[in-house]
């Protein structure tokens, strides 16, 4: 009887070990994945998009300058909580580029590849995050996470406002894609804060 009980416990332990192993498997190489995704996405943007602003867009650029300091919000959020921040940033980038882009002449295939790559990373990161959160009772840490997401959302809200103001015009989109590149560069720099 005793032996059966011990064996039972052993089985339970083994099964639990197995499950924790499975659930954490895709999260072990998270930093490598994130770095590759960010670099690759940046590469897609750089190769297919304009890097210099057309001259007629300079006045629009002046209207956007006000949002420059808000990139610091992104930096703060990445420093506070890199995984959550990246999860939110990637989602916001996909959402932003899914708006009305009829004015731009961007290569649709490259844009879709860029978005789907970010989306795949969002899904994987989301699974890792929810596995981590399971152990977390709503707590100061939970509030902290909310704050991190809010910072990111505030930054992209400014971008949305700018696009709406300029009626999703060509210049507005050119400025926004340059801004998104800056944001991804920051993500790339701060990804190494994530512990594997």
């Amino acid at each position: 009887m005793n032996a059966i009980l011990t064996q039972g416990w052993l089985h339970i332990c083994l099964v639990m070990l197995f499950f924790s192993e499975v659930s954490s498997q895709s999260c072990t190489s998270l930093r490598v994945q994130l770095t590759t995704t960010t670099k690759n996405s940046l590469g897609l943007l750089k190769s297919k998009m304009r890097t210099n602003l057309p001259l007629q867009c300079l006045s629009d650029m002046r209207d956007f300058v006000a949002t420059q300091e808000i990139l610091k919000e992104i930096q703060t959020s990445l420093e506070e909580n890199p995984k959550v921040a990246i999860h939110e940033i990637f989602q916001q980038i996909i959402r932003t580029f899914n708006q009305n882009r009829t004015e731009t002449a961007w290569d649709e295939n490259s844009m879709a590849a860029f978005q789907t790559r970010l989306h795949q990373q969002v899904q994987h990161l989301g699974r890792c995050l929810s596995a981590e959160m399971e152990n977390d009772i709503p707590s100061p840490r939970g509030q902290n996470i909310q704050l991190t997401r809010l910072r990111v959302k505030r930054y992209f809200q400014r971008i949305d406002n700018f696009l709406n103001e300029k009626q999703h015009g060509l210049c507005a989109w050119e400025i926004v894609q340059i801004e998104v590149k800056r944001c991804l560069l920051l993500v790339d720099q701060l990804t190494n804060r994530i512990q594997n």
Binding site: Q25, S26, T28, S29, V32, Q33, T36, T37, N40, I94, R95, N98, A112, A113, Q115, T116, R117, L118, H119, Q120, Q123, H124, G142, I145, Q146, R149
Partner: protein
């Protein structure tokens, strides 16, 4: 009354809900979900499905098998006879981020109006992306509604073949060569990610396995024992996905002792050869010196040989002195000059014989002086 069955599922704007019963009233309510935010339910909306499904039913049980990025979609065929199928695909993010994704579906190339219940969907699939697929049944009269929407994430669902391994053994190490899992020309996996290899190796006697993680396809396992059979198996890893193990490969390391013996033999042989050569050189050198000293190859000039090594001047002087002394003591004039002249004549002749020498003049000079001295003495 029918029992109320409540079912919850994630939906996006533009989504089709297939496989409902005909002539049935369905009610639905929706609420938004966003991370940890709480949301409220919408009001209920009820609708009755048409009386009977007068057309074809959509295919069921969609599934994808993907091996080395060759992806095949299968589904259950519910009909016999002349029916065909069409497959469509969609980027997964479009479901989530488009206001209505129902018109964003694209027909998969080569999967239009096909008769077999499976199709190769590799063409739109890239390793880094998430996709949805749907199928519908058609005949010449009608088209079925679209099937369920099947998600596919190649990063997770694609299986990897085990790599193949070649091993070369030396005395105390194994050189491993790995051939990565077979790849399709399109959608090459290693184009985006390099494999990591896990190598397990053990020797037959110990049963404890060593494990190595390697990124390169050619490497060496060092510090092994000679004359031992080692076995190994290799697994390819791609992010979170790992292949099955390769076949177990066994090989015996070279025997170290025979090598040592041959090394010793070689050292001894070459050592002995070196010593012999050195001895030969030394003895030859010594022989040369001895030969030079005692058996010179060039002869002394005859004049020197004849004098027997004595200084010619002194010898003559002494003999003349002696003769003069004798002259003083014994007066026998008739004999003495004769002997002297005889001697002199002999030496004069030998000088002439050796007339080849370049110092002829000196010798003749000496002869003159001898003659003078002798005359004086007399």
């Amino acid at each position: 009354m029918f029992p109320l069955q409540e079912k919850t599922q994630d939906v996006f704007s533009g989504q089709n809900l297939p496989y409902l019963q005909p002539d049935t009233t369905y009610c639905l309510k929706v609420k938004a979900s966003l991370e940890d935010h709480k949301a409220l339910w919408s009001p209920e909306y009820c609708i009755k499905t048409p009386k009977a499904l007068d057309g074809l039913a959509p295919p069921k049980n969609l599934r994808v098998y993907a091996l080395n990025m060759k992806c095949i979609l299968y589904w259950d065929n519910l009909y016999n006879g002349s029916i065909s199928f069409t497959v469509q695909w969609l980027y997964a993010f479009r479901r989530q981020y488009s206001p209505d994704y129902s018109d964003e579906w694209i027909t998969v190339q080569g999967c239009e109006n096909i008769t077999k219940p499976h199709c190769d969907i590799s063409s739109p699939v890239s390793f880094h992306g998430m996709f949805y697929f749907r199928v519908r049944t058609m005949n010449s009269y009608s088209k079925s509604p679209w099937s369920e929407e099947l998600p596919f994430d190649p990063l997770i669902e694609n299986e990897i073949d085990p790599p193949s391994v070649k091993v070369n053994a030396s005395e105390n190490s194994l050189h491993i060569f790995i051939v990565p899992p077979e790849e399709l020309e399109k959608n090459s996996i290693s184009e985006h990610y390099s494999f990591t290899y896990h190598i397990w190796y053990w020797n037959n006697s110990s049963y404890t396995k060593g494990r190595i993680e390697e990124k390169s396809t050619s490497f060496i396992i060092p510090n092994l024992s000679p004359s031992t059979v080692y076995c190994l198996e290799v697994q390819a890893l791609l992010i979170s996905k790992s292949s099955k193990f390769s076949n177990v490969t066994c090989i015996e390391t070279a025997s170290g002792q025979s090598n040592q013996v041959s090394l010793v033999i070689a050292v001894v042989f070459f050592g002995a050869a070196a010593v012999v050569v050195a001895l030969l050189c030394v003895s030859w050198y010594i022989w040369k010196k001895v030969k030079y000293a005692f058996f010179p190859s060039c002869n002394f000039p005859l004049i020197i040989e004849k004098t027997g090594g004595r200084d010619p001047n002194s010898s003559y002087l002494i003999s003349s002195e002696e003769s003069t002394e004798k002259c003083v003591l014994v007066i026998e004039k008739s004999i003495l000059p004769e002997i002297n002249l005889k001697d002199h004549g002999q030496s004069e002749q030998s000088c002439r014989d050796s007339g080849n020498y370049s110092n002829d003049d000196d010798i003749s000079g000496n002869k003159n002086s001898h003659e003078i001295k002798e005359e004086e003495a007399i």
